[in-house]
């Protein structure tokens, strides 16, 4: 009995070591991901049923109200879009004048969140689009409010996304107001990001919007990431502590967007 236990234990240990320190098992894991999909699909059923019953049992008045509200919102957004067209054209002309690369419109794919990683330490979610829909590792994920994270594992019909608040995740950002660059790190708290190595003289204050800077070549430029909550100057420390709150509703968003950006298709796989 003891020898069998020893054998199985050693096999498990070997798997762990190979899995952590090499990437030999990554293709195997991608294949095995097919097994995981039905479980997440199954645990998502109550949520789906809830959504369906909410749709089916809606009263006529509430639908009309919602329709009116959506129409009003559409009108406001359309007005913004009118300006947007001329601004885009102007931006393009200016970029041509400066001989810089043209901005590419990002293609997006709407996905739905079907699961959350059960691991309390890791901030990962599972979405219902996979390799069959063209999802690739490193692909950025957004919701309606900002950047959520990046795809880390793809199986045929679902993929795993690492959120920006995970304690192993960091992404390059810049302050929208003045273009100051920084690196936003997750600390393992769903409502907090920390900026790394910000010196005391940098112009950054509470309320500043942080957008992705695209310097890591992984995330597209200009999507909102977080809002600075507090800047603490401590004379005893070499750097300022900057806390920011993610813009994306990492805890609530169910409908998310996968971005196919031209930048990451070129095969750059470094940075993050």
């Amino acid at each position: 009995m003891a020898s069998r236990v020893f054998g199985f234990g050693l096999a498990a240990l070997l798997l762990i070591v190979v899995n952590i320190y090499t990437d030999w098992l990554d293709p195997v894991r991608a294949k095995l991901g097919v097994i995981a999909t039905p479980f997440y699909w199954f645990t998502d059923l109550p949520e789906r049923f809830g959504g369906w019953s909410q749709d089916a049992l809606r009263s006529r008045e509430s639908l009309q109200q919602e329709n009116a509200a959506l129409n009003a919102e559409l009108l406001i957004l359309k007005r913004k879009l009118q300006q947007m067209a001329s601004l885009t054209a102007e931006n393009l002309r200016l970029r041509q004048l400066m001989n810089s690369a043209e901005m590419v419109q990002d293609r997006v794919l709407v996905a739905e969140l079907i699961g959350i990683s059960p691991d309390p330490l890791a901030h990962k979610v599972v979405i219902n689009k996979g390799a069959e829909q063209g999802v690739y590792p490193g692909q950025p994920l957004l919701d309606a409010f900002g950047l959520m994270g990046q795809v880390v594992a793809v199986s045929p019909y679902s993929s795993e996304v690492l959120l920006i608040t995970d304690s192993t995740h960091a992404l390059p950002v810049q302050v929208n107001r003045n273009g100051v660059r920084a690196v936003a790190e997750g600390v393992g708290d769903l409502y907090q990001l920390k900026l790394r190595h910000v010196s005391g003289t940098v112009d950054i204050r509470a309320g500043d919007l942080l957008v992705s800077s695209g310097l890591g070549q992984r995330f597209p430029v200009g999507y909102p990431v977080a809002e600075v909550e507090s800047v603490e100057h401590d004379p005893g420390r070499p750097f300022v502590t900057v806390n920011a709150r993610p813009k994306a509703q990492l805890n609530r968003s169910r409908h998310v967007l996968l971005v196919f950006s031209r930048q990451t298709d070129t095969g750059v796989r470094s940075g993050g």
């Binding site: 009995m1 236990v5 234990g9 240990l13 798997l15 949520e47």
Partner: protein, 162 residues
């Protein structure tokens, strides 16, 4: 080893599948530490009642499946469950003769070992759990144990699993 004819073993498989579903069932962010380790509890139960039939092999397979489903490092739960299975095989006679609350305490220790090892694998990846908080699944498992054993015993006797 298989002198007894196996009967209704499918129930074991079904219960493990159910345990895996519960293991990935989405919990609110605030309650994320309060999920009992269902698969570990099932491994403890089946090894205690049928130590000749089930052992480290079952624990390893279930562990690998759980790793795949949860999307964590392959081998993390396998390692932890094999160790739990080993301790169970050594002590099943004692566990059987215990009162339910004593069993609960023993489950706390066993799932605690499970948590200790899976937490060690996590630390290799760079995650650090708040001290003692990572034992809360063990505590929840121990709390759930009296209810679980009632249910499992009923099912096992009803379907005469051997």
């Amino acid at each position: 080893m298989d002198s007894v004819r196996s009967q209704n073993r499918w129930l074991v498989a079904v219960l493990f599948l159910g345990g895996l579903v519960l293991a990935v069932f989405p919990l609110p962010y605030e309650l994320r530490w309060l999920r009992p380790e269902f698969t570990a509890m099932l491994v403890i139960y089946w090894i205690t009642v049928m130590p000749q039939q089930f052992g480290a092999g079952l624990a390893w397979c279930v562990g690998i499946l759980q790793d795949v489903v949860e999307g964590v490092v392959l081998g993390e739960h396998a390692l932890a469950l094999v160790l739990v299975a080993y301790v169970c095989q050594l002590s099943y006679q004692r566990i059987r003769s215990y009162a339910v609350w004593q069993q609960s305490a023993w489950v706390f220790v066993l799932v605690g070992i499970h948590q200790l090892f899976s937490n060690w694998v996590h630390s290799l990846l760079g995650y650090s759990a708040p001290p003692l908080l990572f034992l809360s699944p063990a505590f929840m498992s121990a709390l759930l144990w009296p209810v679980a054993i009632l249910l499992l015993e009923r099912l096992r006797l009803r379907y005469r699993v051997t």
